[in-house]
């Protein structure tokens, strides 16, 4: 048998609108239970929905970012099913004629480029939230009911859990860049349901598709897809049939590793009896509207990566790290622009290194977003120039930056408040070097006779004399010049 995994992803993303999809209730996620609800989103008799234009534009924007063709004519449909979190007993969704179809997203998996095709992107409404109580009742909060939701369906083009995760990471990055979704998986504003099965490429035999639920992190997606591939493979090799099922992921705990189990079999689940929504007239996306939306499109992650490589002479790897989030990329560009001296490429290299090093370390430690950090890009540029000019050592600069990161004070202020002596005056440093050379004539003789490893001792003495505030590389250079080696 030559087995191959077949993975497609359905993603639901809450759209960043201020009001709901079909009524004017707020989408504020922090509102108290059932305080942002009205007769429309709780399906009282006689109400009518009205489409939120912004939600349509955000879906079209997503379609453009994912290289989709945008429907000039699109309609809503009713998806009928019974569940207490859905007060109308149908969800207004799209079936035929979705807003966007036939796109793709290019991803990079372990250094290899893969193109994942997008089948469709459509617009619908979210459901309410059910809270299970200790007794045999559930409580319902309809605040989320009617919040605009976008469904993005990929073709089953992924072949491993790694690819599924990379696709999801890249997709979330795009949605954040274009400002349509927060992408927060823990809070459920970005949800993923993988469809997984396994095929024998020789005989063509296939297992039934598992639709996976309850995944609220990238890790859960990766682990559950891996688990399902292994399960399907095992059953297929034994010659057992694997039925189509919806399965729930249970993350690992002390007692056992993560696993999936059956939530429901699929026989009746897909009988949604879709039909065109009679309460809403069709949407027509004309050329004018489309070009207006297109004109509002920001630079996409891939374009930004490519520009960073050409404009700043960065490696593709560095460009990838710096553009992971839009805010990080903007910070980088602002800091490079604030560097006064030297070539852009040099400045970019310094800033890139600092942001990936010290900045990322402190962001990880504090769990902050770069946009909220008090230290501004121009402060970082100034700090790095002090280092470049030899006025601060790398070690001292790191200390200064820690305070800058917390307080937003500029480097010169921190330096003077802390009484750090800036050994920047080259003539003073040279004087110290000369003194050290005079004090250690026997070591100087050794170095001159070719024992260059003894030079480290001299550098150390200078560092000691400056209490660690000189830049070792500069000290090294001065010694080299003095000794003519």
């Amino acid at each position: 048998m030559a087995l191959e995994a077949i993975i497609g992803l359905e993603v639901h993303a809450q759209l960043l609108t201020r009001s709901k999809m079909f009524c004017r209730c707020s989408t504020d996620p922090s509102a108290g239970p059932n305080t942002v609800v009205c007769p429309i989103c709780t399906a009282m008799p006689g109400v009518l929905p009205v489409i939120n234009r912004r939600a349509v534009e955000l879906v079209v924007r997503t379609g453009l970012a994912l290289n989709c063709s945008i429907a000039s004519h699109s309609i809503f449909a009713r998806k009928n099913y019974w569940y207490p979190d859905l007060p109308k007993n149908y969800q207004i969704s799209q079936y035929e004629l979705p807003l966007c179809r036939d796109g793709y997203l290019d991803i990079d998996v372990n250094g290899q480029k893969r193109r994942i095709r997008i089948r469709r992107v459509h617009l619908e409404e979210d459901t309410g939230k059910l809270y299970h109580t200790a007794g045999n009742e559930s409580r319902i909060d309809f605040n989320r009911c009617g919040v605009p939701l976008m469904e993005i369906v990929s073709e089953p083009d992924m072949r491993s859990a790694d690819e599924a995760r990379e696709y999801l990471v890249a997709l979330r990055q795009v949605l954040r860049y274009i400002g349509v979704c927060t992408g927060n998986m823990e809070e459920g504003s970005f949800r993923c349901e993988p469809n997984v099965n396994v095929r024998d490429t020789e005989s063509g035999a296939k297992t039934g598709i598992s639709e996976l639920k309850n995944l609220n992190s990238f890790r859960a997606v990766h682990q559950s897809v891996d688990f399902e591939i292994a399960r399907h493979t095992r059953l297929l090799q034994r010659g057992e049939t694997v039925p189509r099922q919806t399965r729930r992921w249970h993350p690992s705990d002390e007692s056992r590793g993560g696993y999936t189990d059956v939530m429901r079999s699929k026989e009746e689940a897909h009988d949604y009896r879709y039909f065109p929504e009679p309460d809403l007239v069709p949407m027509r996306i004309g050329d004018d509207w489309l070009s207006e939306i297109r004109a509002g499109m920001p630079e996409l992650p891939q374009q930004k990566r490519e520009r960073f490589v050409s404009q700043y002479a960065l490696t593709p790897y560095d460009a990838g790290v710096l553009t992971q989030s839009l805010e990080f990329a903007q910070y980088f560009e602002a800091a490079v622009a604030a560097c006064r001296a030297g070539q852009v490429a040099e400045a970019a290299k310094r800033v890139s290194k600092w942001l990936q090093g010290e900045m990322s370390r402190l962001l990880n430690e504090t769990g902050q977003d770069i946009a909220d950090v008090p230290a501004r890009p121009e402060h970082v540029a100034e700090l790095l120039e002090l280092v470049e000019e030899g006025k601060l050592t790398g070690t001292i600069a790191k200390e200064v930056f820690e305070e800058m990161f917390r307080t937003g004070k500029p480097a010169p202020q921190i330096v003077s408040e802390r009484g750090i002596e800036v050994v920047g005056d080259a003539s003073e440093l040279e004087r110290i070097v000369d003194q050290v050379l005079a004090d250690h004539a026997e070591v100087v003789a050794k170095v001159k006779s070719g024992k260059t490893q003894s030079k480290g001792f001299l550098v150390g003495q200078v560092m000691k004399a400056t209490r660690g505030q000189a830049v070792p590389q500069i000290v090294n250079d001065i010694i080299d010049r003095r000794l003519g080696v």
């Binding site: 059932n34 609800v37 234009r53 299970h132 009742e137 309809f142 429901r264 009746e268």
Partner: protein
Amino acid sequence: MRLSLDEVRHVARLGRLAMTDQQCEAMRDQLDSILAHFEALQELDTDDVEPTSHSLDMANVYRDDEPAPSFDRDRILANAPKRDDECFRVPLIMEED
């Protein structure tokens, strides 16, 4: 007969309706006569008629993305068969068929 009893039971199940065999038979007859009307419609020649999804010849009816105050919670919960201070209450749903 255009519909089988099993199809009626299936539709009843989708609507979470508990129906006796007698009710299912009565419903089959009624649904059957509705379907008969549609069969009459299907005899029309619609080859030259543009398909539409809506009876109104309109498109692009939108509103701006401006939130407005919602309803008072007590008013929304007022007609609920069962409620508490904050939420609707419903019987626990078991997650399976």
